[in-house]
């Protein structure tokens, strides 16, 4: 490890903090009182999309404990008396694990495959949250709104994913080769 200049160090920190910061932003955006039809309903699922997208190339920058903290924060902010706190954390951790263990089907493949992978994982996430919320509040919750959310977020994915991939792939100036991310040139989406 050779001594880096201050800028390079800041740069590397920035790159390491970026996925977490983007995730935090989307967790907070969940609460924004946006009144766009359909889209505002799907906001609570966007953090899951971010977790999926960043787990594709740089899972080491979204460590498990961070996902745990973000998921719990999301559940606390989203609220609802009696709703389980930590179910989103469970979902995030499982999404990351699923992506990491199936990299060869998801990384460096046509976009359509990635989209399909996201469809499956997001469906799992929605069902998980629905199941635990119903169990914890012990009421039969109508699954239709959750399914609407799911459909919207699946449609939004092709719009948002390339954007996030761009953010992720951006190479800052003056980075020594050793401090570059592990993502190979062919690994990013779009």
């Amino acid at each position: 490890m050779r001594a880096d200049g201050l800028l390079a160090m800041l740069d590397r920190w920035g790159r390491w903090a970026l996925p977490g910061a983007v995730l935090l932003f989307f967790v907070l955006l969940t609460l924004a009182p946006l009144r766009a039809p359909y889209l505002s309903g799907a906001l609570p699922l966007l953090p899951a999309l971010v977790v999926f997208q960043f787990s594709l190339a740089t899972p080491e920058r979204l460590p498990g404990p961070l996902l745990l903290a973000m998921g719990i924060l999301l559940d606390l902010l989203l609220g609802g008396p009696g709703a389980p706190v930590g179910v989103s954390a469970l979902g995030f951790v499982l999404i990351r694990a699923a992506v990491v263990n199936n990299r060869r089907y998801l990384v460096g493949v046509p976009f359509l495959f990635q989209w399909f992978g996201f469809c499956l994982l997001a469906l799992g996430f929605v069902i998980l949250v629905w199941f635990f919320t119903a169990l914890w509040t012990w009421t039969a919750i109508d699954p239709m709104p959750a399914m609407m959310q799911y459909v919207v977020v699946v449609v939004v994915y092709p719009l948002l994913a390339p954007l996030l991939a761009r953010v992720r792939a951006r190479d800052p100036l003056n980075v020594p080769d050793e401090s570059r991310g592990t993502a190979q040139p062919g690994e990013t989406t779009s």
Binding site: P44, G64, Q149
Partner: protein, 296 residues
């Protein structure tokens, strides 16, 4: 080259193993969080309020751009139906003017009657105006975050109203923030009166845009178009805040459409009826004039 490939394969295997082990711990930790939340709801409540207070300045900062975006979206929508909207408003204005006349006459009459009967009014309500800085609307919750908290006298259980009618009640209060639970939320139960028959009932939400009227003595007396108002029973709600109107009565189930338009809330008023202050020993009454605007 081959050695390097081998090394990479081994390294990735080791990494996968570590990750698999970590996954178990993380899953256990999130289950632990859920169980703790189920067992100790007070702790979770505190954590919620803390998270709310931390997030509320950030939300307030993005509230303006979000409001601008919302206005742009609403403008686009309204632009398409400007002519119809104008005609509708003109008609409504005429109708409301007639009502205004009637209301003035009744108010005068009412005042005189009260004088005659030596009627004692309930505690006077004061309002705290709040901006809606966050939605907590998901597939499971119907609520919102306000930028006022305990500092200006907001307390748990107070009514939240819009110009049209009741929106919900305060569920959680932080120092500078509060969470409203809308009447449409599945956890909302509201004691109400049917305005025409003065019959008592409970208005329950189920996360859909329509409310359900339950615990009714008899469904037969309810008609479409009946107005539902708060009854003031059991709490800090003033009597007679309009809530909604009956839109559907069949097979013993009565559906109510709330007057408040939850899709375009920006400012709301928190009604401080003074009753909560009495219950908790008056500690919630702020000493200094509040930062929020008091209207009355």
């Amino acid at each position: 080259m081959a050695i390097r490939d081998d090394f990479e394969v081994v390294a990735s295997q080791v990494r996968t193993m570590v990750q698999r082990f970590a996954l178990g711990l993380l899953v256990i930790a999130s289950f632990g969080a859920m169980l703790v939340g189920k067992a100790d709801s007070v702790l979770v409540e505190h954590a919620r309020v803390l998270a709310l207070d931390l997030a509320s300045p950030v939300l307030e900062a993005i509230a303006r751009p979000v409001a601008a975006a919302n206005r742009a979206i609403a403008d686009l929508k309204e632009f398409a139906s400007l002519r119809e909207e104008n005609a509708r408003l003109r008609e409504e204005n005429a109708r409301l003017l007639a009502w205004q006349t009637a209301a003035r006459r009744l108010e005068n009459e009412n005042e005189r009657m009260r004088e005659l009967a030596n009627f004692r009014e309930g505690p006077e309500a004061s309002f705290i105006t709040a901006r809606l800085v966050g939605d907590s609307v998901s597939a499971y919750v119907r609520g919102a975050l306000l930028n006022v908290g305990r500092k200006v006298g907001v307390a748990s259980g107070q009514a939240v109203v819009t110009g049209e009618g009741l929106a919900g009640r305060i569920a959680e209060v932080g120092e500078h923030s509060a969470r409203v639970l809308f009447v449409t939320d599945v956890n909302s139960r509201l004691p109400v009166l049917i305005e025409r028959t003065r019959e008592r009932a409970i208005l329950a939400g189920d996360n859909s845009p329509r409310l359900r009227l339950t615990l009714l003595q008899s469904v037969a007396g309810v008609q479409r178009g009946d107005r539902i108002v708060t009854s003031g029973h059991g709490g800090s709600f003033p009597v007679g805040i309009p809530v909604g109107e009956v839109v559907e009565t069949d097979q013993g189930s009565v559906r109510v459409r709330p007057f408040a338009d939850f899709s375009r809330l920006e400012f709301v008023r928190v009604v401080d009826y003074g009753v909560t202050g009495l219950v908790s020993g008056g500690t919630t009454v702020p000493a200094a004039p509040p930062a929020g605007v008091r209207i009355r």
